[in-house]
Symmetry: C2
Subunit: 438 residues, 2 copies
């Protein structure tokens, strides 16, 4: 009997999970690799950062997600190299893993474009750790101010958000409501209205991918929440106390959140090291064929934010969850087709619309066919879609409890500060047992 | 108009919160001090450690808990000294806080009695960080074994629990069920039945505070879950790879959980530094009058695990949640009485019973009047009591979702590994912004 093909999938995000699911009935052995043992529901990271949801609510253990699929194994590990010639994935720890087919779906990370000080002093919002860290920081700033209220005047509660895209807008709305509806009650001695939440956006409107009418609506809603909008400016640096802008002006602010750029996972560079510079686009994503494979290496597919997926008319598709999901589905179908001796199909992305929330019970949604929603109808559409998308019943139930609670009470319960300043969840009292290899 | 008295309460555990509540109508200014910004529901820490509950489920933000009480302020800070003469509480960071009345309710911490290697290599179960750390470690051991299954034979999944009291028993039952019902499915390639869970207890039975019949029942239930019981032995040391026992034998095991002792918070030593050695009992707790105040210092009360609360017949009461709650209630009533010119009342503890779970749907409960439950009735009593006790509706609702889910599916969803080995929730990708004082 012939050995079954091994398909190694790197990344348990939307693309990777969808791909694995598509191989459920295929006579292949799948190994799903991720650096974390959980899938992160990235669209709701801003809810974790603003204490609306617990970290666990938007994360699902990978092994639980794929448990019912008998042909899947899981490997927790950090991929440091891909041996393209010998067809092996190399890990930081533990033995390498050989593959017959490889799917890279490692996503994207924050890109600070080397703007001075942002790596050291800024906060990102691309991972669960990012979100928890930002939340802890915001809560700590309030605790500091409660000991010395004069710090409020000095801007200890202020937040500058670099980037007015969906992430920046959702985060700004969430922070404004957290401050106004929750923390102002938790800290009655502080004049929380003095806290500034500022979006700095180089373009001339927020939510650039949306129709200008929706951008204008979002801007009005943000203004009503007290969020300041600075257009035509980029952040040029920070020292952790002051944020500098393009025009030479500066904002005294110790909390800079960088939502102004993403780049492909470092795995793209690993691939380029072996296959040459032409492997990547100028934006750092991996160039792929219409079938989403690496040119000259049909055994390697790339999907999701890591790939420069062709849009069919010479451009590349944006780095969005639906692109990742549909890409994963296509590559799975092509792997199944290959086993049956059928040719691979090219990728045809179907745009099903985009959405962004702008605070409590308010969202903008842009659907195909020029359908646009805003306000409460937009929010209901957004809410339903995200609840359906959340993986696993239990998370869905918990998220609903939290949301119902927030909605009824304006309260947010997920505001615990765990651990030290420098080590968010490290024990403060006793030494940490020495891992690994114990 | 006379300045209102300031009552400073150190510790937001059961005793501290009950005390603050008892002062709701009193014409005093209350400052509630804690090193964390949340109350931890300690009886359920073992559920967090065994992935049955999220950390956030058993923690409630202190500010949210006391928000409706207008005469309470909250101070987040680590108390490093008490200036008994000038009546000031001194913090590691920030200005000192003067008091008219002081209530110390800082609880207890793990006591390893200096047993070699336990501080460095062992795990405790007294704080939320302890519980999250143990959970991450257990899950990581499984991920290691999944890369190299021979590690299972070498004991990588084994756990030794020092101490057969309620904490040790509840944890052992939880781990055994986590392994058997959940992780054996998550890791189908591992022979999880080979994993040992061992309780090492110097006495001759588990749950020594309970009636021997209940101890015997608990032991039988544990045995059915595959937990090994070693009696008449203490742990004498560990190097992180092997656990040594009294009789010179040793168990190869990298996971030692220490539930074999607690001691009063370091705040007891701070007090003794000022008031002399006679301030503390041999066990390190603060000696108090029948009214739970420090002898010679009626302005300082001590309640909960930190105090050697007299039992009325020459002994001291055990370090249990009901003792803390009732003590807090008494001291609050005495503070109110004092304002009205009434004398202080002595503490009369009313024993309402003790409970401990022994795995899924099984608990032992010992109520006053020789009422004893075990098995399912015990578990139902335990479940109801703990749900009622959990602070805050939202936590209660979430906990119920989690429990219902666990019960129906045998699944446990809270099994995420966040962050690095050495820094559980520290970002692995980008540098940590430098706190504090940024």
């Amino acid at each position: 009997m012939e050995r079954r093909r091994r398909v190694v999938v790197v990344g348990a995000g939307f693309a990777g999970l969808e791909l694995v699911k598509g191989l459920a009935a295929a006579p292949v052995d799948v190994v799903l690799v991720d650096a974390n043992n959980f899938h992160t529901f990235q669209p709701l990271l801003y809810q974790v950062a603003t204490a609306g949801l617990d970290g666990d609510d938007i994360a699902a253990p990978v092994r639980a997600v794929v448990r019912s699929q008998a042909n899947v194994d899981v490997r927790l590990g950090q991929v440091v190299d891909i041996d393209v010639d010998d067809r092996r994935v190399v890990f930081r720890d533990g033995p390498a893993l050989s593959y017959d087919r490889l799917v890279l779906a490692a996503g994207a990370v924050t890109n600070t474009y080397g703007v001075p000080g942002v790596d050291e002093h800024g906060f990102g919002l691309k991972s669960l750790e990012d979100a928890l860290q930002l939340r802890q920081h915001l809560l700590r700033q309030f605790e500091r101010a409660s000991v010395d209220p004069s710090l409020v005047e000095q801007g200890v509660l202020d937040v500058v958000i670099a980037g007015g895209g969906p992430t920046g807008v959702e985060l700004a709305g969430g922070i404004a409501e957290l401050y106004r509806n929750v923390l102002s009650h938790d800290f009655p001695t502080l004049d929380v209205r003095k806290a500034r939440v500022v979006i700095v956006e180089p373009g001339d409107r927020v939510l650039a991918p949306f129709h200008p009418k929706l951008s204008a609506r979002a801007a009005r809603t943000l203004a009503r929440l007290g969020v300041e909008l600075v257009f035509g400016q980029g952040v040029t640096g920070t020292d952790g106390k002051v944020v500098q802008l393009d025009d030479g002006s500066s904002v005294p602010c110790s909390t800079l959140v960088w939502t102004a750029g993403v780049k492909a996972s470092p795995l793209a560079d690993v691939l380029a090291r072996h296959l040459g510079d032409g492997t990547l686009t100028r934006g750092g994503r991996v160039v792929v064929t219409p079938e989403l494979t690496v040119p000259g290496h049909p055994e390697i597919a790339v999907v999701g934010d890591l790939a420069a997926s062709p849009d069919g008319s010479g451009g590349v598709l944006p780095q969005l969850a639906p692109v990742a999901i549909q890409g994963g589905r296509l590559v799975a179908a092509n792997l199944v087709a290959e086993l049956a001796g059928h040719p691979a199909e090219p990728f045809h992305y179907v745009d099903k619309g985009t959405m962004a929330t702008v605070g409590r019970r308010n969202a903008v949604a842009q659907l195909p066919g020029r359908l646009r929603f805003s306000g409460t109808p937009g929010w209901l559409a957004w809410l339903g879609l995200h609840l359906i998308m959340l993986i696993g019943f239990r998370n869905r139930a918990n998220v609903m409890v939290n949301w119902a609670w927030n909605y009824v009470t304006y309260d947010r319960a997920s505001r615990l500060i765990v651990g030290d300043d420098d080590h968010p969840a490290r024990p403060s009292g006793r030494p940490m047992p020495t891992d690994p290899d114990r």
